[in-house]
């Protein structure tokens, strides 16, 4: 009896305020879609971070004969214009020697920070290069002599690459210390800003949604003041009087949340898996799967249900005398 009565009251209320309800639904849907989207993006970014950081090495390139030659040549130039800065100051003492290599390797292995060290010979580097860029014109002109030997260093804590850089850069036999993370970090910074922007827009949409709900409740309470007045006089509990209003907001919020969920799901379906097929087009990025998307939906639904209800409840304290 009670439930049926409440349900019919909600139906009447929602239809009476159809345009306002519509506005609430849309703004809730948009703000929650942004919320879910930014949650997903954060997960995607941290997933990419883990993946890329893991792949990214600190690479110590060693001097080869050509580097040494170039260094001595550029130093003999009289005008002193800085050519390749790294080439000028490093590799002056000739190509790396076996002793130097050994010294560098043992030192690397002694560092607490270092997880693993892999040596790549010039021949291996040449092979990798040919595998990756073999189809280009430049690749055919490159010989194994031109490739540098290198140490690929994996760190336990990739954030501390600078320690390695400062320890080895500029030493005899070392050409450059290259940290690949620096390049990746720029990308992540951009993604982070995008995410913050999305959260900002979400916040604004959320405020709009809340204001709309408060206004809807006010109109609703006003248009039903006759009913609520009678309810009060015959002794309906304040909870019983308020429930239809709160449920109205909750139902509108839930519809908005469901729409937001549909937007997220179809985003995954049409943009990543099918349609645009980002997953097959950009294979470097390991995109999230369905489980990540589905895991966010309960949060979206929960917030979509709870937030309008709380807003309505607070609005009622002001606009509905009980």
């Amino acid at each position: 009896m009670r439930a049926q009565f409440v349900m019919s009251e909600i139906g009447v209320g929602l239809r009476r305020n159809l345009t306002m309800t519509f506005a609430v639904i849309i703004s809730v849907a948009l703000s929650l879609a942004l919320f879910g989207g930014s949650l997903l993006m954060r997960e995607q970014v941290s997933k990419m971070k883990g993946y890329w950081y893991d792949k990214a090495n600190v690479t110590i390139y060693l001097c080869n004969k050509q580097d040494a030659q170039e260094a001595s040549e550029s130093n003999t130039k009289a005008d002193g214009t800085p050519t390749q800065a790294a080439g000028v100051t490093t590799c002056l003492k000739g190509a790396v020697t076996a002793d130097q290599k050994k010294q560098i390797e043992t030192e690397l292995k002694q560092m607490d920070l270092v997880k693993s060290v892999a040596y790549e010979s010039a021949d291996e580097a040449y092979k990798h290069y040919q595998e990756q860029y073999g189809h280009t014109a430049l690749a055919s002109s490159i010989t194994p002599d031109q490739m540098q030997e290198s140490f690929r260093v994996k760190l336990k804590n990739p954030e501390k690459y600078k320690v390695v850089t400062s320890a080895f850069a500029g030493r005899d036999g070392i050409h450059t210390v290259d940290d690949q993370r620096q390049a990746i970090d720029v990308l992540f910074k951009i993604l982070n800003y995008v995410n913050i922007a999305a959260l900002g827009i979400m916040l604004i949409m959320l405020i709009v949604a809340l204001l709309l709900i408060v206004n809807t409740v006010r109109v609703s309470a006003f248009s039903r003041r006759r009913e609520t007045g009678i309810m009060r006089l015959v002794g309906a509990s304040s909870f019983y009087i308020q429930v239809p209003f709160i449920m109205e907001a909750a139902v509108a919020g839930l519809i908005g949340a469901v729409i937001a969920c549909l937007m997220l799901v179809s985003g995954q379906y049409f943009v990543i898996d099918h349609g645009f097929e980002l997953r097959t087009k950009i294979q470097i990025i390991d995109f999230m799967g369905w489980s990540s998307v589905i895991a966010k939906l309960p949060y979206v639904l929960f917030i979509g249900l709870l937030m309008p209800s709380v807003a309505a409840f607070l609005a009622l304290r002001k606009y509905l005398k009980v």
């Binding site: 009565f5 006759r226 009913e227 009060r232 006089l233 015959v234 304040s238």
Partner: protein
């Protein structure tokens, strides 16, 4: 049933209090007229009983409870034992007569079976048998007030409060309403009725309480309307 203990009520931003030091007792089963010119404090008196307002000073006891000590969430429970009727009927225009009466029971969670039994019964009592499915707009003023009385009475309150129930009705119809209220009073329900209707008060010869500028100036059993205004 009702006891006022030197009750005063002032509203904020008004220097003259609406009620000043009013003390009185109303026993169970009494029929009381509340008279006085507009602004004399009649409405405030009734609102204090309904606990729509709280007294500024003094104590109001209704049905054995000190309303000042009654917590907010217990107020609805207390109001279920009161019935209220107003000059403007306050019916829901989009509900039928039966639905209007049933509304008072639905919102306090009465079971459906009980409602189905009680509604025709009380409509019969107020003389509206057979008009259950009419809309309020199709009824005359007197009939609408009967619906309102049926709604106030359907939960069998111990106390019925009527604020100028005949204010919008012609004298003949008013007599009918008064007969109905009298009948309800005879079932043991206490009735408090605020009115400006001299004829009715003089005819009924019930207890009369008169307020003037917030003061209790007359409390007379089997009284008359009194001074001309």
């Amino acid at each position: 049933m009702i006891r006022f203990d030197s009750v005063s009520k002032s509203y904020p931003k008004q220097n003259r209090p609406a009620l000043r030091d009013v003390s009185l007792d109303i026993a169970k089963g009494e029929f009381v007229f509340l008279v006085g010119s507009s602004g004399s404090g009649k409405s405030t008196f009734l609102r204090l009983i309904l606990r729509e307002e709280r007294a500024s000073h003094g104590q109001v006891h209704v049905l054995g409870k000190d309303l000042a000590k009654l917590s907010n969430w217990k107020v609805p429970q207390m109001r279920r034992q009161l019935g209220t009727v107003f000059q403007d009927f306050r019916l829901l225009p989009n509900k039928t007569v039966a639905e209007n009466v049933a509304f008072a029971q639905e919102v306090i969670g009465k079971p459906r079976g009980e409602i189905r039994k009680a509604v025709p019964q009380v409509l019969e009592l107020v003389g509206l048998g057979g008009k259950e499915q009419r809309m309020p707009g199709e009824l005359s003023g007197g009939e609408q007030q009967r619906v309102a009385i049926a709604r106030a009475f359907v939960n069998r309150p111990a106390l019925l409060i009527a604020d100028e129930p005949t204010g919008n009705l012609d004298p003949q119809t008013s007599v009918g309403i008064m007969k109905l209220l009298d009948r309800i009073n005879r079932t043991g329900t206490t009735v408090i009725m605020a009115t400006h209707d001299q004829q009715i008060v003089d005819q009924m010869r019930k207890r009369v309480i008169e307020l003037e500028q917030g003061r209790l100036v007359r409390d007379q059993s089997r009284g008359v309307y009194g001074y001309q205004h």
